[in-house]
Subunit: 551 residues, 2 copies
């Protein structure tokens, strides 16, 4: 008797097949009790990991690598520990699309053999397990990008980023989820279901690299290389309390990233880490931006990595503070995170001055959406519909709201010209701050909200502007957790800040959804920004902020 293949059966089979690829020794007895919303302790409480495995997986890449390089730790034991923990993580937050521990263990043992034989690590990431988002082509693995139509789309080549990390010694062991269409700050697809936030499984893990953010937050991988064209590295970083960076897109190797509509070159995708420390962020970003081990790369500027001299102890810095984009008012805890950071910087002798974008961010957000979807999102919608699966309902809402339609080339030229003017006027405004700082330099960095909320309950329609502004400008930006802060219903009560409603639906929706009790204990982050190509300086100044706020 023949069974009819529907998108539903494909999805069910895909999810079951993935779960079955996890060895029984790492399988939980059943689904996690829905009343447990903070699942971060389950890897420890489930009893399936050894104490050593828990200890290994709670180290950062920078802590593990010296031991992997000198043989104190074997790649096999580290890889096995992360395989075990990633398996548990997936069963808690649904963050994977592929699990291949046997292949990973074989590679780990091979790398251990090379180190034993030669005494030398193959590269800076020798033997370290790394998760790879379902957007990168990876030979022999499936690239689904959350589309049912691509559920069995097997790759024949490696993306440049995969080659770079492989050359650097990484061990691949899992692929991570992303949302249908890729254009969401949450991670949901008909094919793989919903990825959840480890701090509160009723909340979004962020998107599009939600699998990366949830996996890393669960300590199921030391880091993942995420991708970002509108916030997709940073929303998962923000909502999962991680360190994350969207480097200057022009510097990142883009060959072999999947897309339904190749050829859009106005706003380019970037690639950077979601991880647990500034050391890891710096280590991974340098590897990605120097295209480690690639003989050539035609999608990225081969800028030499500048070993930036840190601001000297005692040097006074001046920070710009952008508290709002005047479109959507951030929730009270976001405002508090910014103000407390500013206070810490001032206490340490630094200067903080107000900075406002020199243009209307509402208009800029519309231009950004139109530049993302220059063909009216036709290829994306066609691809979704080709399998019979329904499109995510809010996707159409966004398209309608931003009046997305196929552009003519003259319309596109006008938008490209507007984009160039935005980059010019913002950069000019940045440089003109030198007239207001006490350093006679322009501001050393800009501190801004990451998002108007610290994650949100699943399925909300939210404002991307605090992320996407930096995509439009191609300004590198770092997401940094304020480790000593969490959303606090007392400190972050809804009535306590002077909120004036803006005349737009995003502001209204954002404010209405906020409930301090619901948000309780969500992590808080800030965003740190510098002009295009100043990635090294951004990392340096972020290190200064991290030491002041998180030490």
């Amino acid at each position: 008797m023949a069974t009819v293949t529907t998108w539903q059966t494909i999805a069910t089979e895909s999810q079951e097949s993935l779960l079955n690829s996890i060895p029984t020794k790492w399988r939980l007895p059943g689904p996690v009790d829905a009343s447990i919303t903070d699942v971060r302790s389950i890897p420890r409480t489930c009893g399936l990991l050894t104490e050593k495995q828990l200890e290994l997986t709670e180290q950062t890449a920078s802590e593990l690598l010296p031991k992997l390089h000198d043989g104190t730790l074997s790649s096999a034991e580290v890889t096995e520990a992360f395989c075990a923990r990633a398996a548990i993580a997936h069963q808690c937050v649904n963050c994977l699309t592929a699990f291949f521990s046997e292949e990973a263990m074989a590679r780990a043992r091979e790398l251990d053999g090379i180190l034993a034989k030669t005494g030398k690590p193959v590269g800076p990431l020798h033997g370290l397990p790394v998760g790879i988002k379902d957007i990168f082509h990876m030979k022999g693995k499936r690239l689904t990008m959350g589309y049912v139509a691509w559920h069995d789309n097997e790759c024949t080549t490696d993306a440049s980023v995969v080659q770079i990390l492989r050359n650097a010694g990484a061990v691949f062991f899992v692929r991570t989820t992303m949302p249908q269409t890729g254009m969401f700050l949450e991670t949901w697809s008909n094919l793989w279901g919903r990825t959840k936030n480890p701090f509160n499984t009723n909340f979004s893990a962020g998107g599009s690299s939600g699998g990366d953010g949830a996996l890393v937050a669960m300590r199921g991988a030391p880091f993942c290389p995420s991708t970002d064209i509108g916030g997709s590295i940073r929303a998962p970083g923000t909502f999962n309390g991680l360190y994350a960076m969207r480097p200057t897109s022009e510097r990142t190797a883009k060959r072999g990233m999947g897309t339904a509509a190749p050829g859009q070159i106005s706003i380019k995708v970037s690639c950077g880490p979601n991880c647990h420390s500034m050391s890891d962020l710096k280590l991974v970003t340098e590897i990605l931006l120097t295209h480690h081990g690639l003989p050539f790369e035609t999608t990225a500027v081969p800028m030499p990595w500048r070993k930036q001299i840190r601001a000297q102890q005692g040097d006074k810095l001046c920070f710009g503070l952008m508290t709002t984009d005047d479109c959507v008012t951030p929730h009270p805890p976001i405002a508090r995170a910014l103000q407390e950071t500013a206070a810490k910087l001032r206490s340490a002798g630094h200067e903080v001055i107000e900075f406002k974008p020199p243009f209307d961010c509402w208009e800029i957000a519309h231009a950004t959406w139109q530049l993302w979807f220059q063909t009216g999102a036709k290829e994306t919608i066609d691809l979704v519909e080709s399998s019979g699966e329904p499109i995510y309902s809010t996707f159409q809402w966004y398209l309608d709201f931003f009046k997305i339609k196929p552009l003519t080339v003259p319309e596109l030229f006008k938008l490209n010209t507007k984009l160039a003017e935005c980059r010019y006027s913002f950069t000019r405004a940045w440089h003109e701050t030198s007239e207001r700082t006490g350093t006679s330099r322009p501001i050393d960095a800009l501190i801004a909200p990451c998002a108007p909320s610290a994650s949100f309950p699943h399925g909300h329609t939210v404002w991307w502007g605090y992320f996407s502004l930096w995509n439009l400008l191609d300004y590198p930006s770092v997401v940094m957790p304020m480790k000593k802060m969490r959303v606090d219903p007392i400190k972050d009560a809804k009535g306590d800040i002077n909120y004036t409603p803006k005349d737009n639906v995003f502001d209204k929706m954002n404010w209405e959804m906020y409930d301090p009790e619901l948000w309780k204990n969500q992590p808080l982050t800030i965003q740190i920004v510098k002009p295009q190509f100043m990635d090294e300086e951004l990392i340096s100044v972020s290190e200064t902020i991290d030491e002041l706020c998180n030490a």
Copy 2:
């Protein structure tokens, strides 16, 4: 009695007004006798310049600048000499659109005063006169770009390149011609007439920077910063026997260059020098690519200038030699210039291997044209027609030949994707030459024809592919004269090379027009190329070739 303003009266008045802006002391008694086709000696024979002025204007920028920096020469005397010689040049080859010697002399005297007072030059080009193409916005000057419609289009700001050179100490004194539409390898407009080749006024000065090429060849300026989106720096360099460079466009400051259709970002314009030596080429390119004195620039990658270590004496290099693109067979003297260069390199112990592009250059040329004119050239044609002037007849021929029509955005995306694939496949082919070289490195540079002919009689329809290939790939390329060679009717007879006609009209037209007697004494050049962003290395390897071939 009111006169009717027509495009003809505007053109006549513009040309007369320009001529009248030249002081009578520098006016020739009348038009140059048409029987004198090589006009290069007229500045010397006309009797209007002093011996000192002739001697000053025959020096390169690199020779003049140390004396301008230490006060041995005043900017006033150098500027006056070039004003005088540029005036004569214009009357010989019609290379200018504006002449402002009084303003230039005032600035020169100001710079002399600063040097006398401070003992310091204001920048590396302190006091040096520089010609500026009619494509750069320049405050208070007209930007016509060869359009009658823009004959009185006064600029309110300076282009970035103008700011850079001004900051470096340049003295502006003339604006130089370019063709109507800007998209030609010759220089003709209804507004300004035709710019002629100083070696043979019946031949093309090249385009679109034909004014630059003719002016510099006449020694009317030590160098000009030219612009190039399809050969426009290099055709004038080639046809006038100059050194010229099209840097990586991503590294050049593009703000404030005129265009009828802003917003095209698939193939970007570049800016580099037309000049008289490798030293000048290096000096000017470094200033342009480091954006000297600009506080910020949002149209160019701020790559640090790498002070490249020269290939050591005795180091064996390996050059790729591309003799043809398999579309249009170069004329015999072009083939000879390449072979004689290869022989000299081999004699010096270097290796020369054959290199063929890894794709069909005919198809690539079509894609290039379609990417240049994504809107079907509508804005350009509308702008021409708005004044009633006729469009240059071959422009429409090119549009028809390359099937130019307005693209849809999906068609544009396909072409952008093809472009990215071309860059990848060419760069891969380049790197794979390491399997064939004796150095175990990829080829150190590629040597190629500049054009299939050493200029051509006015009004021919010619093949741009040998220039535009490097625009599509954004590979930096140098044009270098072979100073010991000229077209020679004996050595370069038409029947002497084994010519097999290609099945296309460009090859047929190119071959049919060649007449060794007509081309006699035209200068010969080669093109030297390296991959995108390797501008410093390209200059270094070009210096090696220059020393071997031109010392």
